[in-house]
Structure formats: structure tokens, C-alpha cells
Amino acid sequence: MRRFVIGQAKNLIDQTRRRPQHNNLNLLSILHPSSSRFFSDMSASDSSLPVTIDSINPNVLKCEYAVRGEIVNIAQKLQDDLKTNKDAYPFDEIIYCNIGNPQSLGQQPITFFREVLALCSHTALLDRDEAHALFSADSIARAWKILDQIPGKATGAYSHSQGIKGLRDAIAAGIEARDGFPADPNDIFMTDGASPGVHMMMQLLISSEKDGILCPIPQYPLYSASIALHGGSLVPYYLDEASGWGLEISELKKQLADAKSKGITVRALAVINPGNPTGQVLSEENQRDIVDFCKKEGLVLLADEVYQENVYVPDKKFHSFKKVARSMGYGEKDISLVSFQSISKGYYGECGKRGGYMEVTGFTSDVREQIYKVASVNLCSNISGQILASLVMSPPKPGDESYESYIAEKEGILSSMAKRAKTLEEALNKLEGITCNRAEGAMYLFPCINLPKKAIAAAEAAKTSPDTFYCKRLLNATGVVVVPGSGFRQVPGTWHFRCTILPQEDKIPAIVNRLTEFHKSFMDEFRD
């Protein structure tokens, strides 16, 4: 019922949005307590409270984040119920393939990174002789180096709002080593994961619904949610599934013109490379065209590059947009570029630490000051996350004591991910009515399901979208949690789901079996 009521509210908002005049007034009146007649299940006691569902910020109601939405809530309830009610289900565990959260599925952290973190967090260890028995020599050396960069060696203190300067130096050096072009530590803003950086940029760019952000469809819903929260307009550009989720400049141009004709000022272009949920890795040539497009149209390029370490195919390579732009001869004055990086992805997968940074180039100093100011309202990002971000961008080098084990851990994780991506993709492509592009990078597969008309009708009857219907059935039958494509948006009339490649290798065959069996019986039930 609740979802339905919110749906109603959303429809009303959408309707008002389409009417050009008095937008805000209408929005307010619709969601104001005086209009509670719209909400059939409003209880009387609710309406006397200062804050109720119908008097909260309408942008909050509008935003959606399917990666942790309805299906996940059902999964959590199932998991609780499984503990006491084991026999009621045809499976004995819930497998969370909804979210890129590697360590929750058994991936081990990189030892060196954690050693350094342990030493930095309890510095008394460094003075103990026993530490040498427990920690590698280079982790001890690195911990000292990091501590020396922190004023007062205080890892429990707020840092500079952009992050500890010495750590930003390490990151800038890492970017330079990666790109072959200089990077300035003052351009780095460290954040609690990449998401707060994206929010910060949206906050700067969006003043009203007249401000548009070009976003890929399908997209990672952080973008749609953040744009909705800040009251802007998402301007979609569709990735071409038939050409491996290709990004066509002609499509960008078309959508830009379309948005302009609706009176929307497009301020930025978001590109996710490698793609989430679509897994494609952009070619350098394609990236050059994108850079030129942004330069020509005066758009800020928001480059989500959090999966830069996750490339699984030999014919593709990650190139940062900064490197591409600089190699084209474009400097600070030519293009405004923000590159986002995170410690949650790659081979490190340190999601729980909430670390990340954005590298901000091509902005005037007065804009940069504003970014700094907004960053400072939240004081600083967490120090463990900052330390990890610096480690991720400056891992052990050949000759260091930990190098061999570091490389072995890293290669082990990445090659296993590649294997899992391939196995899952092949299995999905064997299923009736399912086509799945290969995951060239990132951590996801995004298969297209050609759903029979009968299934679509059944979904309609159940008042849910066909892909959600499919995913719920899949969850109830197998315990496998995936996210319906509608959470990422998709070409109307097509249906997908997103599945991570993160369950440990020994679990993959069982998942494939469960998926295959489920899909077969689903098709048997609904085949036209």
C-alpha cells in the first residue's frame, strides 16, 4: 500500500512537473498536509505530527535507489526467516548478487593494505619489537611514512577538508604514473567513497529542474537518485546494447538538442567507464570523441572511473579521461573534468571503509573555493578511507618485501573475477530468450530477458514491472538476489536484470544450476 501511495504521489509530481507554470506551488500544495485527501491510508495521528510522509521534501520521495530497494528488503526478510524456518525454502542461503560488495561474499582484503592500516590505527604497535613478527617490514615502513605525513601523527583527528596532504601527494603521484601526465595534489578531494563526490558535484551544478545532466541509460542509480534529490533533470542517452553497450556521439547530440528544445540547460555529461551496470570498456577513440563533444558543448565531464582496475578482456584497456584529454593537447582551460575513484572496487573491494577521491581539473579558482567550502561543512572524510585510497594508488613496488604476495593476491582476485564473468555470461546466453553482452570490465552482467507476453500480463496483474516480477520469482525460487533492470532504466519495452560476478568461484556452478532451473520452469509456466 505504501509503495502505491508513494507511486500516486510521484504521478502527481510528474503531472505537475509537466505543467510549466506554478511548478513549485503545485508541488508544495500536493505534498502539503492540507492535501492529505490524496493519501487514502493517512492515519489521523500522523497528520498531527510536524513531519509526516506528506510533508517531507518531495525530492526525497522522488529519488529511488534500486540496488538496495524492494527486492533486497524481501531478501533480508527471507534471510531472517531462513534461520528458523529452513525447511520452508528450496535453498539454504541467500546469495547477494545485487551489490558490488566483494568482501561480504568472501573476497579477502589485500594483506599489505590492512597491515598498514592496523599499524596506523594503533601506533603503539610500531614501538613494539613483536610487531616485526606480525607485520611485513615494508608495511611498517609505509605506516611510519604515512604517520609522518599526518600532523601530530593523529589518525583520530579531523584532517584538511580535502584530505591529508601527504596522502594526496601519493595519489597524485599514482595518477601521474598511471596516465603519464602530471597531477596536482591540490586537485584531489578525498571523500567517504566515490558517491559523496558525485553528490557534491550535483549540488554545485544543479540549481533547479532547468539544469540537466546527461546520463547513460542504463545507469548506476546513484546518478538518477542524486539528480532527483537535488531537484535537477536527468537527460538520458541510451547505450546501444546491440553493439556491446556502445556510446554513440550521435545519440549524445540528439539528446542534447532534445533537452535544449525543452528549455533545459545541460550542464554536464556523466560517463561510467568501465560501465555499471553494462560492463563495457570504452575505446580510446570513443573517449576522444566524448572529450571533444564536452569541449564543444561546454559540458563538465563527470568521469566515473571507479572500476578502472576491473578490466577482464585482453582487447580492451582502461584509459582515464584525463589522460585522453591531455594526450589530445587539452589542458586546464579546455575542458572541465572530474574523475571519481573509489577504494570499494578494483581488486581491493574495501567497501566498508568508505574511501575515495575526485580529481577536479579545469575549474576556475572561485569555483574550486566553493567545492572546498562544501567539503568543509562535513569537516573531512574518514582517515582510514583516506589511508587506503593512498595505498590503492601507490601499492607495493617490485623489490618491496610485500610485492610478491601483493601481486599474487591482486592477480588471483582479478583473474578469478574474469573467470566468473565468463562462466556466468556463457550460462546466461544458453538460456531461452536471454542475451547477455560480455562483461569487459566492472563487476556486473546485465542480461536482456525477452519475457513472454503471459509473464508481462502476470506482472501487470501483480502491479509490478515485468523485470521486477521476474527477479522476485528468481529470489523466491533460488535465494539469488539480483536487481531489476528498471532500477537502472532501460529502453522501454526491454527487460534486464543486473547480477554481480562476485560470489566466490566455488559457488558459481550452483548459482548457474539454480538460475538455469529457475529460468526453465519460469518459461514453462509463461511461454506464449
Binding site: P50, V60, Q108, F135, A157, L229, L299, T364, V377, N382
Partner: protein
């Protein structure tokens, strides 16, 4: 340029956050030039030499890596094994046992068992359920009333929680939030970022920064006459920057006021451990509300905030906090959950610090004595420092300062002579910014001008923390006094002091 200053979101431009503003930037510059700077601008205890408590750091360190070193591949299995005995195989490893006390190791295992996938995995977006349960137990012990873990959300520091709640409440500039003046600028900054209206209520400096409910009524009436719908009220208890502790009677009045005016009360209680007098111990808004009984306890909506950054913990760099919601309808809680989920989860290390903060070592635990000694030492020293600072300021010419009853700040009023006001004007500076810059240049003491927190017109203050090391305190106050005397002599003239 794709993004120019002119085309930025106006709300971003409007927002101000003085704690890290002009003074701080100048101080950082001076520091780079090699000058010794005493940063008393941010309540950042470890940066000024306060040592972290040992026990939580030990637990945390173990969680980072020791267990991996011992070749334990499956943490969930480990946890089950560990539950078997108090002296597991970990203690048999001479190295681990020599470095860490047994209760720290046990506690590390306990927290590992609460996570799914250790510290490196996203948790539930509201925080680890087991830690939220510990927080609820803490609140229940503190207040004597039950607390529901489902209504507790862990956050990356208290500020994030304040932002989440205000984001939910503010729909546009027609929505007003009552905020004390002087206030902690997080509130003004967030309200302007979200495009809402700040409705000020003034604390009474002559009454030791007392909160007079009649002032509240006036503020609300005035805002309403301007067409603003006042929706929430912020209290900071103990006060930041003002250091006052609210009495139980005063809290009752405030809650009754919120009931009558239909306001959500946002209780910023991050300094609840920092109390430096015995007349008014900390009492939570939640406890007072529950004591008041029906209809108040059932209808007043309250969100209380807490953090690991303050108290004797001072773990600012961890970014850990929580908020507890009372009388917030389930559907609104779900919306707040949804918005929290866009940020995936608060950082897990800080969640564990929060768990440790709300359930510290108990008498009888191996680490208890050290923990008690460290925490008591910090609080007693802060109490002494609060006194040294207040007395020091009050001994200076043209400076009056209320006693810091709680929190971490001193907020003296500086009576600037007309000559100084004029000099400030000529320099294009707000008078208190002018004073603080001069202070910084002369002494290296980095403070925040009162204008960053809001103050009555024509009255000037500065905020310092009481955090510099105790042994350095006399020297700092001497150096302040010397500067202030010279400043006052320089700018005093025949017109006498400004009397405002």
C-alpha cells in the same frame, strides 16, 4: 568554461562555514611558512596532542589484519569457533598475546561476528544491526527508557545525520528551522545548501547563554508573519560554541514549546560526556520527553545526534555517529532509510568505534583500569583547562567570558574600541575577523571569529577550543593577554570603548 562561479547553485554560494574559513586558511598558510600555529579553531582533540584511548585502538587494529595473518580464511567460521572459549588459539600465538590484552582480542572477534564480511564490506545502510542494538542498550541505560535499534541510524559523523534529517524536512525557502544564535555553523550551512530558511533565536549571554522560551515564541511569530512555516527546532546541549548546559526544567519548556508549535526537535547532544560543573549534569532530551509522559512522549518528534568525535574519545578522524528517532512515523523512517541507502553505508570502522564507545570495558575486564584512568584523566584535564581559559579571558582588558559548563569551547566577548572598528572597516574586514587575524599573526593562535556563529549586532566574540595541552595553557593565555592588551592600547582613543 563549463562551470563558472556565476552559474553555480546559488544555495552553494550562500552557504558559509566559518570553522574552516578565512582564518583557518590564513593559519594554514602561516604554518606552511614555518610559524608555530596553535589550532584552537576546530574541536579536534587528537590534533592537539590528546592521545586516543588505548582499548578501542587495540580492538580496531586487531580487526584490520591480525586475524588474516593467522590464516583464518572464513571469518564466520572463526566467529563460531571463538564463541567456544575465552582463551582461543589466538592467545596461544605468543606475538598476538604479548601485544594485545585478551579482552581486546575477544572484543575484536565479537565485532567481526556482527559484520557480514568484516570491515571491508558495506554494511546495512543504517549501520550494523548488532552495533545499533548496543547503541539502543546504551541509550536505555542512560535514560531508563527503552530504545529501539530500528530507529537508530549510524552515520559518518553526526554532521551527516543532521544533513540527512534536514534534507528530509526542508522543501524550500518557505520552511524554517529554529536555530540558536550563536550556533554551530553546520546548521546555517546545511540549511542554506538545502535552500531553507534559518529562523534564529538568541541565547542570552548575560544569563550564561540561557535559552528563554519567550524568545522562541517571538522568533516563531516573526517568521510566521513573513510566511515561513517553522518546522523544526535545533538545540545544542551542551552548547557549541557557547558551552552552556541546559537544565531539566528548561528542556521541559522547550519540549512543551515544540509540542504546542508542532516542531520536530533536533537535539545535538554530541558533547554529552563533556561536562565541567556538577550543578547541571547532562540530561538527554529523550529522557526528559519520556519523563513528561503522554501526550508529549507520544507526539513530540525528536531526533537526537551523537558522535565518536567528542567526549573523551575525540575520534574525529573516524567519522562515526548516530541519530535516534522518536515519534517519527514508519513511512518517514523508510524514506530516510532510502536516502541513506544511496550512500550505501556509513564506514564500518567507525561503526565499531561507536559500538566500543557505547559499551566500553567494564570493571573486572583486563583493560578496565587503563581505560578508566585514560578517560578520567582526559575529562579532569579538560575541566581544569576550561577553568584556566575562562579565568584567563576574564583577566583581559575588554574581554568577558562565560564559564564553559560543557562542550569544548570558550566563547569570550571582545569589546572592541571604536578605533578598532574603524581600522577593521578600512581593512575591509568584519571587526571580529580583523581582531582574530591580528591575534593569529601576533601569536599563532588560530581561533574562529564570532561572526561565523552569529551574534547580536554590534557585539563581537571569538571561539577557541579548550583543547591545547594543559601544560601549554598558561603560556597560551599569557600570549593572548599580551596581544589583547597591546591591541586595546593601540586602538583605544578618547572616545572610549564601544558600549553595546
Amino acid at each position: 568554461m563549463a562551470l563558472e562561479y556565476e552559474s553555480l547553485n546559488e544555495n552553494v554560494k550562500k552557504c558559509q562555514y566559518a570553522v574552516r574559513g578565512e582564518l583557518y586558511l590564513r593559519a594554514s598558510e602561516l604554518q606552511k611558512e614555518g610559524k608555530k600555529i596553535i589550532f584552537t579553531n576546530v574541536g579536534n582533540p587528537h590534533a592537539l596532542g590528546q592521545k586516543p584511548l588505548t582499548f578501542p585502538r587495540q580492538v580496531y587494529s586487531i580487526l584490520q589484519s591480525i586475524l588474516e595473518r593467522l590464516d583464518i580464511k572464513n571469518k564466520n567460521e572463526l566467529v563460531q569457533v571463538v564463541a567456544l572459549c575465552q582463551a582461543p588459539f589466538l592467545l596461544e600465538d605468543p606475538n598476538v598475546g604479548m601485544i594485545f590484552p585478551a579482552d581486546a582480542i575477544a572484543r575484536a572477534k565479537h565485532y567481526l561476528s556482527l559484520t557480514s564480511g568484516g570491515l571491508g564490506a558495506y554494511s546495512d545502510s543504517r549501520g550494523i544491526p548488532g552495533v545499533r542494538k548496543e547503541v539502543a542498550e546504551f541509550i536505555q541505560r542512560r535514560d531508563g527508557y527503552p530504545s529501539d535499534p530500528e530507529l537508530i541510524f549510524l552515520t559518518d559523523g553526526a554532521s551527516k545525520g543532521v544533513m540527512q534529517i534536514l534534507n528530509c524536512v526542508i522543501r524550500g525557502e518557505g520552511d524554517g528551522i529554529l536555530v540558536p544564535v550563536p550556533q554551530y555553523p553546520l546548521y546555517s550551512a546545511t540549511i542554506s545548501l538545502l535552500g531553507g530558511s534559518l529562523v534564529p533565536y538568541y541565547l542570552d549571554e548575560s544569563e550564561n547563554w540561557g535559552l528563554d522560551v519567550n524568545n522562541l515564541r517571538q522568533s516563531v511569530a516573526q517568521a510566521r508573519s513573513q510566511g515561513i512555516s517553522v518546522r523544526a527546532m535545533v538545540i545544542i546541549n551542551p552548547g557549541n560554541p557557547t558551552g552552556q548546559c541546559l537544565s531539566e526544567a528548561n528542556l521541559r519548556e522547550i519540549l512543551r514549546f515544540c509540542y504546542n508549535e508542532k516542531l520536530v526537535l533536533l537535539g545535538d547532544e554530541v558533547y554529552q560526556q563533556n561536562i565541567y560543573q556538577d550543578e547541571r549534569p547532562f540530561i538527554s532530551s529523550k529522557k526528559v520527553l519520556m519523563d513528561m509522559g503522554s501526550p508529549f512522549s507520544k507526539e513530540v518528534q525528536l531526533v537526537s545526534f551523537h558522535t565518536v568525535s567528542k567526549g573523551y574519545w575525540g575520534e574525529c578522524g573516524q567519522r562515526g555517529g548516530y541519530f535516534e528517532m522518536t515519534n517519527i512515523p514508519p513511512r518517514v523512517v523508510e524514506e530516510i532509510y532510502k536516502v541513506a541507502s544511496i550512500a550505501l553505508s556509513p564506514n564500518v570502522s567507525a561503526q565499531i568505534f561507536m559500538g566500543l564507545m557505547v559499551s566500553p570495558p567494564k570493571p573486572g575486564d583486563i583493560s578496565y583500569d587503563q581505560f578508566a584512568r585514560e578517560s578520567k584523566g582526559i575529562l579532569e584535564s579538560l575541566r581544569r583547562r576550561a577553568k584556566i581559559m575562562t579565568d584567563g579571558f576574564n583577566s583581559c582588558k575588554n574581554v568577558v567570558c562565560n564559564f564553559t559548563e560543557g562542550a569544548m569551547y570558550s566563547f569570550p566577548q571582545i569589546k572592541l574600541p571604536p578605533g578598532a572598528l574603524q581600522a577593521a572597516k578600512q581593512a575591509g574586514k568584519v571587526p571580529d575577523v580583523f581582531y582574530c587575524l591580528k591575534l593569529l599573526e601576533a601569536t599563532g593562535i588560530s581561533t574562529v571569529p564570532g561572526s561565523g556563529f552569529g551574534q547580536k549586532e554590534g557585539v563581537f566574540h571569538l571561539r577557541t577550543t579548550i583543547l591545547p595541552a594543559e601544560e601549554e595553557m598558561p603560556e597560551i593565555m599569557d600570549s593572548f593577554k599580551k596581544f589583547n592588551d597591546e591591541f586595546m592600547t593601540q586602538y583605544e582613543n578618547n572616545f572610549g570603548y564601544s558600549r553595546m
